[in-house]
Subunit: 139 residues, 3 copies
């Protein structure tokens, strides 16, 4: 049994989903782990991790439309507005999605479904550099 | 330290929660792991995993009523409609719930709370065969 | 490779977020694990786990305001009311947030972001004693 830890960065430019599936495949490939578990963690409070359909890009836009309506900018409900109108909605969206995900590794590959991709979901409107931490364990 | 991977299938028939607690207990039982961690993963983009109260079935129906109102079928917000009116709501419901869960194993059993069950949450209205991946690690 | 399991308790007094970051640091510190993964699990169906901004307490209050509006007490949608008006909303809030979280351990510390805290989110209005299970694995 062995473990590997790694970290990589994604530059984001606005509120949407960024496919990180390829980057994760590379992390798994270089780990030398054939069978095990990848656990992902995002150390940010206004971005999150999401598994979603990776086929029709309209799905990702519909998802963003839904979250934008559910947690609207400028909602008078929110008192924490000092960091901009997109900040508190970003924290709520982050609470409603995931900051950690665990995906099995089988045959040296992530056991994603046929139509699944792994995405970083950026919730802020401005540019950010986001880091993603990987913990892999197995044989 | 050892690990075990396994997979099982659930046939679903419509939008509701399916209790998989017993199936998981079997997986843990046959793994020979007495103390450790079970990580579950669902490789589908329109079904998810949920821990919920397992006592009053009305809780599960209320939950479905809530999600059906929060993410309504036929919502003009959604552009991705080619796979049916329940498809895009299924992706959103999936984003709002979980695709992976990790539960401790203690004394060769899942450390679920007294009132907790583990459920597959089917978000499509038609019949589906869903697979669930298990990764168990421990001693 | 080694693993440690532990459990600790939090007394809650009403619907809000309780910072458990320090308690988790202690668990990691006494485990002797320098590099690895902490997996948390909450064995309750009306409380959950959340990573949130830990700087401005207004963020936590805004979050509670949001969930209180999204899943209102006394909603006629809910049939399961025998355990009080806050019970079914608690189950829904629990479904929308997390019951398990995995956070990497680096240099004998949790790899939380600068502005991240780990919180227990109590969804019931009365006092409760909540337990949190920790599974740590690594070297």
């Amino acid at each position: 049994m062995k473990q590997k830890q790694s970290k990589f960065f994604i530059r984001t430019s606005g509120r949407r989903l960024y496919d990180i599936s390829e980057a994760l495949s590379e992390q798994v490939g270089t780990s030398g782990i054939i069978s095990g578990l990848l656990s992902l963690y995002i150390p940010h409070s206004s971005a999150s991790l999401l598994i979603q359909e990776n086929y029709d890009p309209e799905v990702l836009r519909d998802l963003e439309r839904f979250f934008d309506r559910l947690v609207p900018q400028g909602d008078p409900l929110f008192h924490h507005t000092s960091e901009g109108p997109d900040d508190m909605p970003a924290h709520v969206r982050s609470a409603l999605t995931a900051v950690s995900l665990s995906i099995p590794i089988l045959d040296a590959q992530l056991a994603l479904g046929t139509w699944q991709g792994v995405f970083l979901y950026e919730h802020r409107t401005s540019q950010h550099s986001r880091s993603i931490l990987c913990h892999m364990i197995g044989e």
